[in-house]
């Protein structure tokens, strides 16, 4: 059933796939983010309690969701790579980690900037904030670990194990709001309930979440391509590609 995945164990195929997917990630992402951001900033009504500062939600929630989703993605790649011994999975982990770290930073930064006018403080040791901070450390650890090895094959296995170990953190962040009585508001979007936010505020949020997801996809494709090129720099196909000044699948 999974035979269609097999060619992508070969780096040349994966490189080409990323090249084909990149425009499909990038352009919809730009469109969605443009529409969602403008809608959220200029057209959505102001919140009754929080006024216009609530508009930070259009950056904060997508960043937070992506930060967790990308870590889950790293863990899945780690699992596939370790079990089926597929090297491109390890390169994928290395590609995703900095994007995830940036998303986590965005979530923490925008959360702090939002919290200052709302709660009067930039930072509080609340369970959800703390778990997100720990997630940032986990990402940085993965990045540092991958960079520490000269042998990138060994590095790949190490980060795969690290991702799986750290993935335990994700449910804790998600459920922490229910388990502890804290300052952070309850989850706005849940699969099981109706969202507790009015729909004309919700739509830009959904667009931005999707937009952020596609941006992360575009970045991951690009990073994976460059990681493959770095590793396969001396192969003929990579050399032809790098030397040919191709502008097409850039």
């Amino acid at each position: 059933m999974w035979k269609w995945l097999h060619p992508y164990a070969k780096t040349e195929e994966t490189y080409a796939l990323c090249g084909r997917l990149y425009p499909w990630f990038l352009w919809p992402a730009i469109a969605l983010l443009a529409v969602g951001t403008v809608w959220g900033l200029a057209f959505a009504p102001a919140d009754y309690q929080q006024g216009d500062s609530f508009r930070i939600i259009y950056i904060h929630v997508p960043g937070a969701m992506l930060s967790m989703g990308l870590y889950a993605g790293m863990a899945i790649l780690g699992f596939i790579g370790l079990v089926w011994q597929i090297r491109t999975c390890y390169m994928g982990i290395a590609a995703i980690a900095p994007v995830g770290a940036m998303m986590t930073f965005i979530a923490l930064f925008t959360g702090a900037v939002w919290g200052k006018p709302m709660w009067g403080t930039w930072w509080v040791w609340d369970a959800r904030l703390t778990s997100e901070l720990i997630l940032l450390f986990l990402y940085l650890g993965v990045i540092a670990l991958y960079g520490a090895f000269d042998d990138k094959i060994q590095a790949g296995k190490a980060v795969a194990v690290m991702s799986l170990v750290g993935v335990i953190n994700l449910p804790i962040i998600h459920y922490s709001v229910y388990w502890w009585n804290t300052l952070h508001q309850g989850a706005t979007i849940s699969k099981f309930d109706n969202p507790s936010i009015s729909s004309d505020m919700l739509w830009p949020l959904l667009l931005n979440i999707l937009g952020f997801g596609l941006v992360a996809g575009a970045l991951a494709c690009r990073r994976l391509q460059n990681e493959i090129l770095t590793r396969e720099m001396r192969r003929p196909w990579a050399q032809t590609l790098l030397l040919s000044n191709e502008t097409g699948a850039k």
Binding site: A42, F43, A44, R222, M233
Partner: protein, 72 residues
């Protein structure tokens, strides 16, 4: 349009500093990641060119040396 004027839009009901800082830092951060990848690809190109040049130089030096040997 929720806001009456552009000035009101920038002001964001008094929260302008917080809202705009968040948005600007976020988009600059994401853009930085894209720029970094462009830079990295350029570095890779340079590395390949440098290495190939080095291989060529070594080859030429070897040929010269073997020619010198065969001349003697």
């Amino acid at each position: 349009m929720h806001f009456d004027s552009f000035a009101a839009f920038i002001d964001m009901g008094g929260y302008g500093f917080y809202v705009w800082t968040s948005f600007i830092v976020t988009f600059v951060g994401i853009y930085t990641l894209f720029i970094e990848q462009k830079w990295r690809k350029k570095q890779l190109k340079l590395a390949v060119v440098k290495e190939n040049d080095r291989i060529q130089r070594i080859k030429k030096a070897k040929e010269k040396a073997s020619q010198a040997n065969s001349d003697e």
